[in-house]
């Protein structure tokens, strides 16, 4: 058979085949090598799926660029270790507490320029309030998640989490590493003391919360609630609503004292070489059509006032000024300044 190929030797044939194979595999990458690349962070799960399948490719196509998404948490230590003049990310997406820490370290620009991001004009005030660095593109409501098959009855207050009947089935978070846990600590100050900054009252309340099962991520709490390992826990609304239609015996409770805000914040790094594209990305993520698609996939409340969600989502998410006014924002700057002290104390409190 090799003779039929004339002067083509076996070695040449194999070399040509290998080159052709490598060329075929590499062709799309070579063709796109000149495209500018925007490096961003983003969550995994449903968020990651839709970003990869739909939202990301649409952005790449519209802005003729490549989107490189890092969904391997934690992001801030990686940004911290990279050069200030050539940061590892152009746009950082994370919760508000980490954005404040990044701002303190000078790793991100504290404000987004409304001239470069026109959609900023359409966001609810909370999204660009003095409690936010960058812009909050979505928010969740942190409240209580409960099992509906355990006969707990109507729950309407945060304080019911302290009821002895939930001993053994109460769920919370590792406060040093989890935004919900940190926000909840501030809520404890409000519930049992003079306000969010009353740490002594918060510590006493946390002591009384034991026994409690604590986890690091909300995903882990969702699984514990679904399995019945916990019956009442601190959780954000999307952690419950995303199982809508699956007949799960779980429900979200918005406590009468108010719900805490869990913001999804975008910021731009000062050393980014892709500033124009970075601003375009922030603007794109605030666009009503993109907001609607993401909100209806991951059950996050959109920050853009102009977004009209389908009735099912509109009924549950924070989509009107009245609903949004119930959100309680945490002063993360104040919190981060005391984080070491708080962490040491809560690590002691929750030690077995």
């Amino acid at each position: 058979m090799m003779k039929a190929l004339g002067s083509l030797s076996r070695r040449r044939f194999l070399t040509a085949s290998a080159s052709l194979g490598i060329g075929t595999i590499a062709a799309p990458y070579v063709a796109r090598a000149d495209d500018p690349t925007l490096r961003i962070t983003g969550w995994g799960g449903k968020w990651g799926e839709i970003m990869k399948a739909e939202i990301g490719p649409a952005f790449e196509s519209e802005f003729k660029c490549k989107l490189q998404i890092d969904s391997a948490f934690p992001y801030l230590p990686k940004l911290q270790a990279s050069s200030r003049s050539a940061p590892i990310y152009d746009v950082m997406h994370t919760n508000s507490n980490e954005q404040w820490a990044a701002a303190e370290m000078g790793l991100i620009e504290p404000k987004i320029d409304p001239k470069l991001v026109p959609n900023l004009a359409d966001v609810y005030p909370y999204a660009i309030s003095d409690k936010i660095v960058g812009v909050s593109i979505f928010t969740s409501a942190i409240g209580l998640g409960m099992r509906t098959d355990k006969g707990y009855g109507g729950i309407s207050s945060w304080k019911e989490l302290w009821d002895a009947k939930y001993n053994g089935v109460r769920g919370g978070y590792v406060i040093p590493v989890n935004s919900l846990g940190q926000a909840f600590l501030m809520m404890c100050g409000t519930l049992f003391g003079k306000g969010q900054t009353d740490l002594d009252a918060a510590y006493m309340a946390l002591e009384k919360l034991k026994p409690i099962k604590i986890v690091d991520f909300t995903g882990a709490m969702e699984k514990m609630l679904l399995s019945g390992e916990v019956g009442l826990c601190v959780i954000h609304d999307s952690g419950i609503y995303r199982y809508d239609g699956q007949n799960q015996p779980t429900d979200f409770v918005s406590p009468s004292e108010g719900v805490l805000s869990l913001e999804q914040v975008l910021t731009i790094t000062p050393g980014s070489k892709m500033k124009e594209l970075a601003n375009a990305y922030v603007n794109y993520m605030l666009r009503p059509d993109v907001q609607k698609r993401l909100a209806e996939t991951v059950w996050y409340s959109p920050a853009n006032k102009k977004v009209k969600l389908d009735a099912k989502y509109d009924a549950k998410l924070l989509t009107t000024p009245e609903k949004v006014s119930k959100l309680i924002q945490v002063d993360w700057k104040w919190y981060n300044e005391r984080k070491d002290e708080i962490d040491q104390r809560v690590n002691r409190i929750f030690r077995a």
Binding site: Q80, R84, G168, D216
Partner: protein, 291 residues
């Protein structure tokens, strides 16, 4: 000829060079950098003004919480090592002395089989057994033996159970090689001279297998004190160990200097215990070269 030979590159040295370079690059350099970061106020690569400081170590010494965390880490490591040794030694002895090749192969497969599954998966498997709604508690409740679930998870015992399951194969494989090389005729000679099988084991086999015990224990101890996934999942963050604290300092407090100082302490604990263990075993066995 002798000068030409001296100038010729040594074949063995060239063979060792890649490994030595790799070791220097991926072992000594990171440890050196970690030691440096632990005595600096910031990262000199990205921060403009960085100075030497002892504050990270002072913080650790000044707060009893960190000393308690260090002791918890050591305690879990020691208990895991002892339990793994207690389970692993008889198994290794059996494997080393079994006459049937098929039997040896089956035992080896039984020891190696769990290692084919990832640590995370195995730890989750333990969670399904030990949790409040896990197999053990549900079975006991359904049999009417208990009314409330036993606290099997979120305890040091739970962590040790998970770690022992993961690290027993390391102990067994290390011990099997050593015990297998001990001449059985030495035990037979002891028995011929009137020693009971137990005394022959205690005075002949056990001392000769001490190098294996040493190697296996050090391996398991080092792995146990640096374990992260199992203490987190089975301890439910309520048992704080050094690796968890290090991760917390890097991922949530962004304090690389303090995390590096904690890392150096973890390393020092391992080194100190290696030295102490070597000395103790050297004294017990009379093998002074161990010292």
């Amino acid at each position: 000829m002798s000068s030409a030979a001296a100038q010729r590159p040594n074949g063995l040295a060239l063979f060792i060079l890649p490994g030595a370079l790799l070791f220097a690059l991926f072992f000594f350099l990171p440890i050196g950098l970690m030691a440096l970061m632990s005595i600096l106020t910031g990262n000199p690569v990205v921060a403009p003004k960085v100075a030497f400081t002892t504050r990270h170590y002072a913080r650790m010494i000044g707060d009893p919480f960190y000393l308690e965390v260090i002791w918890t880490t050591i305690r879990i490591g020691l208990v895991t090592t002892l339990v793994a040794l207690a389970i692993g030694y008889p198994l290794a002895h059996w494997m080393a002395r079994i006459k049937s090749r098929a039997g040896h192969a089956l035992l080896l497969m039984a020891v190696l089989a769990p290692m084919l599954t990832g640590i995370v998966v195995r730890t989750f498997a333990w969670m399904t057994l030990l949790s409040d709604r896990g197999v053990i508690n549900q079975t006991l409740i359904s049999l009417g033996l208990i009314s409330q679930p036993l606290k099997l998870m979120y305890t040091e015992t739970g962590i040790v159970v998970g770690l022992v399951h993961i690290y027993v194969p390391f102990m067994v494989l290390t011990l099997t090689g050593v015990i297998g090389r001990i001449d059985e005729r030495l035990e037979q000679a002891a028995e011929n001279l009137g020693a009971s099988p137990l005394r022959a084991f205690l005075e002949v086999t056990l001392p000769l297998s001490l190098p294996g015990i040493l190697a296996g224990s050090l391996l398991v101890f080092a792995l146990a004190i640096s374990a992260y996934v199992t203490p987190i999942l089975l301890g439910g963050f309520q048992i704080m160990t050094l690796p968890i604290l290090i991760y917390q300092q890097i991922s949530a407090n962004f304090n690389v200097g303090f995390a590096a100082a904690l890392g150096i302490v973890l390393l020092m604990i391992s080194l100190l215990l290696v030295v102490a263990y070597n000395r103790a075993l050297g004294l017990v066995s009379g093998q002074h070269d161990l010292q």
